[in-house]
Structure formats: structure tokens, C-alpha cells
Amino acid sequence: MKLTPLFKKLCDAFGPSSLEDEVREIILNEITPRAASVKVDKIGNIIAFKKGKSARRKKLLFSSHMDEVGFMIRHIDDDGYAYFGTVGGINESVIPGKKVVIGENRIPGVISAKAIHLQTPDERGVSPSVEKLYIDIGAKSKADTLTRLCVGDMATFAPDFEYFGSDRVKSKAIDDRFGCYALCELIKKDLPYDAFFAFTVQEEEGCRGAAAVAFGEAPDEVVIVESTTAADIQGVPEHQRACVLGQGAVISFMDNSTLYPRSAIENIKTLCNENNIKWQLKTLVAGGNEARVYQTSQNPAVVAAVSAPVRYIHSPACVADISDLAEVEKLLLKLAESGLVS
């Protein structure tokens, strides 16, 4: 199983919520030649229509979000350090000691904290709260920093995509550039039926892009293609692992924002079993995704979430297994053929 170079390109792209431009550009270039129509709506979502061999009675939409978690500059102090808030849910324990890139010019910076030698015994090992963390860009002064960036500028973890281990990848933003990648690859295939594709904005701050797509497109069936947290790490008891790398596509029956319709779940399981696609259920109610807004819009859709299991999600080093990504891709193709509810 090989991933095309598009996956690295998407993961390395800069795209904190509301600043998805670079990701959007890559996707538009990728899909425009292969889709029947592609439009960018008023708030930046991409909606693509792929003509299949036949029309479908029900409007089927695949949805993935383009944005990633990041940081926003809130204050620059007298020495030129930039203080920030998080955009999307980033656990503070993964922030210190990391490289970031900031703003339009992708200025490199580091987030750290005072050296271990200077910490009091009480401070050792305790992650500083986000308010206390700052970005160091190597500024000479506040005025110097202000010539390079300003309050409101956004940052992300620095791109550092790598293949590692046996057929695994590590990168920032696998959530949800994996979904974007899988949808791009699906659009490039010949499909038996018409299908719609949404690449959405601002998922990490409340699924705001998807809400607009749900209203504007009013799909009947929506498949959310996501990355979901895998806690299959040393020291975590089996019942708290949520899902496991290498065990295939993750199907959700419930998360913090959605109860998925049983019929859709059963249909997906059957599809997997009939087509030899490896799947697993998400065994924990955790997280949430765009299914919520599609399910609760003015034209409620039947929803399902198909995800790749990803360790250390929302960190600079998310880890995914390439074989899982392949299983999700296989499943999406089958869903495009059969729809969500048969």
C-alpha cells in the first residue's frame, strides 16, 4: 500500500481554522480536472460534484474538514515574545518544546518554557498552562516582533511529515488532511453514481463550515471522513483504547455529539464484511465531528462517520498506520457505489 505524494503535501500545508487557503488551493488543483463542478462557497468550503455513470435518488455527500488545530497570537510583550491562545482543542502537555510556523510568511518560532535548572521542585514535570506559554521568534524587541507579526496572526505546529516504523506515518494535521486526501483520491476514480464532496472550514472550532454546507446543499446522506483518537498505547487498559492502529476503518456508533443511525452502521458493517474490508467499532464515546451539524440541520441527513485511527491527535506528531488509511479508502469507494442506506 502506497500513499501518493498528495498526502504529505496536504499534511504539511498550513491551515488553522479560518485560514485554510493553502489547503484549499491544493485540493482545488487536485480535483478541478476530475469533478463535474467545483465551487467555493461564501465562507470558504469547497463543494464538488462528481458525475457518476447514473444519478442517485438520494443526495450522497462525503465531508472532510480542511482546517487543523493551531494558535492565535494575543499579546506581544516588551521583549518581543508572542503569547497566544489555542485554536481547537490542543492539550497543553503537547505544546512546550515544539517548533511552530506563524502567519502569512510562515515565520519559524519555538514554544518552550524556563529551563529545568531554574524550576522549583513544585514546577518540575507540571505542564505550564497555555496562558503562560509564549512563542520565541528570535526578536530583538517588541518593535522588532511587530514588524514581523501582529496580534491575530495564526500559527500551527511546524510541518515535519515522515514515514516511520513499519508502514506508519507521523505528521501534524493528519486530522483531517487524511479525510481530504481520501476524498480527493475518491473524486479521481470513476464512480457508478453521482456524489457530492465537501471540504469544510472551521471544524475545530465547532463545525462551522459543515453547518453551512448542510444548509446550502441539503444532502440526504452524509459520510464524515475523519481521523479519530486511538489510545492504543502502552499503559492504557484495553477498554479505554477507543480504537487500535492496524485494525482497519473505525466506525462510530456514538460520540460526544452524535448517535449514529443504526441502519447506516449495520449497512457499513455488511459492506465491509462482504468486501473483505477490515473494520473496527470505536469502543469509547469520545470526541465529536461534523455529523452533528448534518444530522441537526434544517434538512437532517442520515449520517455516518468513517475514520482512520490516529494516535496523539492534535499534536505535532500524529501517528497513523497506512494500512488503516487504505481500508478507509476501500470502504469509501464501496459507499459511493451503494450509498449509506440501501
Partner: protein
Amino acid sequence: MERLYSLAAELTALPSVSGFEEAAFGRLGQITDGLFDEVFTTPTGSFVGVVKCGRPGAGRLIFDAHLDEIGFIVSQIHKDGFLSVTNAGGVDTRMLSASAVTVYGKKAVRGVFTSIPPHLKNPDDKNKKLELKSLYIDTGYKEEEIKEIVKIGDFAELYSPLFRLENGFIAGKSLDDKICVAQIIRAVEKLDKSKLSCDLYCAFTGGEEIGGKGATSASYAIDADWGVALDVCNPKTPESKNFLDDITVGGGCVISYSSTTSRFLTKALADCAKKHSLKTQLKGEPGRTGTNAHYIFTSRAGVPCTNLSVPLRYMHTGVEVVNLSDVFEGAVLLAKFTEELGDIKK
């Protein structure tokens, strides 16, 4: 400065966790090829290059920069392939979750420190100390695969290639103390050997992060007359206060007056900087400097030793920050100091 940057980039990428410095000897020999009249290594992880002045009975000066860096040693290989590690040197666990590392087994493999997923965190744990024993290295290999590559006792270190910030600032891992190894190499490159009246021993020593064993033994072997320990020191950061606030990155290298170093040699170094208009900062260190100066000073029957430091932010992390102009001016100072050492009375 470009030469310094490329030296620093290469040196910081060399594997040399405390106790495993030998791994860096070969490449260090290539980097310094032609620079020294003589080279030797010690069994305690030190690499020493000698510049001879050619005068019989010349005094001996040590420049010491430690070659080792903080890191990890594999202590257990778990089911599913996760590695437990123990620390070599003072590791700041707050910096590790979701950080990349390189594990040096039969081959070098990339790893990632695990981070505990938020859904498994208890809100009451917010102020709980993160201990190294609750973090693991994920190498992306299955248990049977990783056991073919890595064994207990192998070492690992942070993975963080050097990169540039603004204004000549650079960031990366193990600038403590590879930046001083680079500084010494630059100093020797700039040295006017015709002015030399002492033999210069450049000691890139092992084991500083675990208690100066390399400097102790190298200094004993060299039997020097003077020593300068080159290391890094903590400067002002947003969290610092009082005395550190006077030390800034970009303000020049730091000369420490300490009760545990040689006053006259420290003053000679400060005077030399003043004479050549080289930017330095002064620091008062009432006790030990926390550098190899202590070990060199107490070696044999005593070696007058002082300490010059590169101010460095976020010591012992993968994103240590220094300014190249500090390092460069410090290298010039070391060259001038060496050339003029003959004028200093023992």
C-alpha cells in the same frame, strides 16, 4: 557566521548521549581534519585535539566543551513495541509528549514520545507531575520487529534538526554544548599560530550531563596550566527574575566571576574582551558554575580555570535558542586570549 551555523547543524545532529560519546568520535575527527597537530581520545568519552606552538616547555591551555548531551537509555521493550526509557542527564518531561526522538539501535530509527489522550486525563491531574516512567517511545514497529533493531541499553535522543529564527537566532537540540564545540573549532580556525606561545588542548569531553567524568579524566591526562570551560548558561526569559535579567541572548558571551574559579584568569579573559572590543556580559556566580570549570580546577594539583558561556534559552529541550553573533564573538575572544596568553603570569 555561515561556517558556525553549518558546524552547529552538523554537530547537533551527531549522536552523543552521555555515556555514548564514542558514537560521535569518527565524524568529529573528519570535521576537525587538518585542524589539530595531534588527536587522542580517552576511555571516558573525550576527544582531544592539540595545537602545538612548537616551543619547548610551553605551558598547556585547555579549552573544554562537553561533547555529550542529555538523552535516554532504553530500559524495557513492551508488548506492542513501545519502549520505556530512563534519562541520561536532566530531562524536562514537560517537553516530551508528542516529541520526536531518534533511537540508536542496530540502525537509527525515528520514534515519538507518547502523549496521554485527553479523554484519559482526569481534571484533577492538572498539577500532577509527569514522570518519564509514564511516557513511552512509539517507534511504529511491532514488538517482534523492534526487538530485531533495538535492545535494552541502547540510547535515544531528541530529534530536532537545527533551524534559523530571526536576527541570527538559531534553535535546535543539544546546542548545550555542541555550540561550544563549534565555537572552539571556529576559535582554532581563527587562531594566528605564529603568535602562539602555549600548546592548546581542545577537549571535547564526555559525561558532563552526568557529573563531569570526561573533564575530570581529560584534564588529568593533559596536566594543564590553564583552563577555560566553554558551556552554556541560562539568560533572561519571561519567567526569570533578578540576576538572570541582566543576561540576554544577543548580548555577548557570559564571563562568570565565581568563588570556585580562578579570579586572575577570569579577569584576564574579561580584560582581553575589553581590549578587543568584544561584546561580553558579566555574571556573578557565588558557588559552582555548574560547568566543567569545577572539575578542571580541582584536577591534579589544581589548574587555574575560568568559564565562558554562551547564553542559551530553554536549556535541555529540543528547541534551545542561541544567537550566532554571541558564539562568533566568543570564538574571536578565545582566539585572541590564546594568542596573548603568554603575557599572563601563571
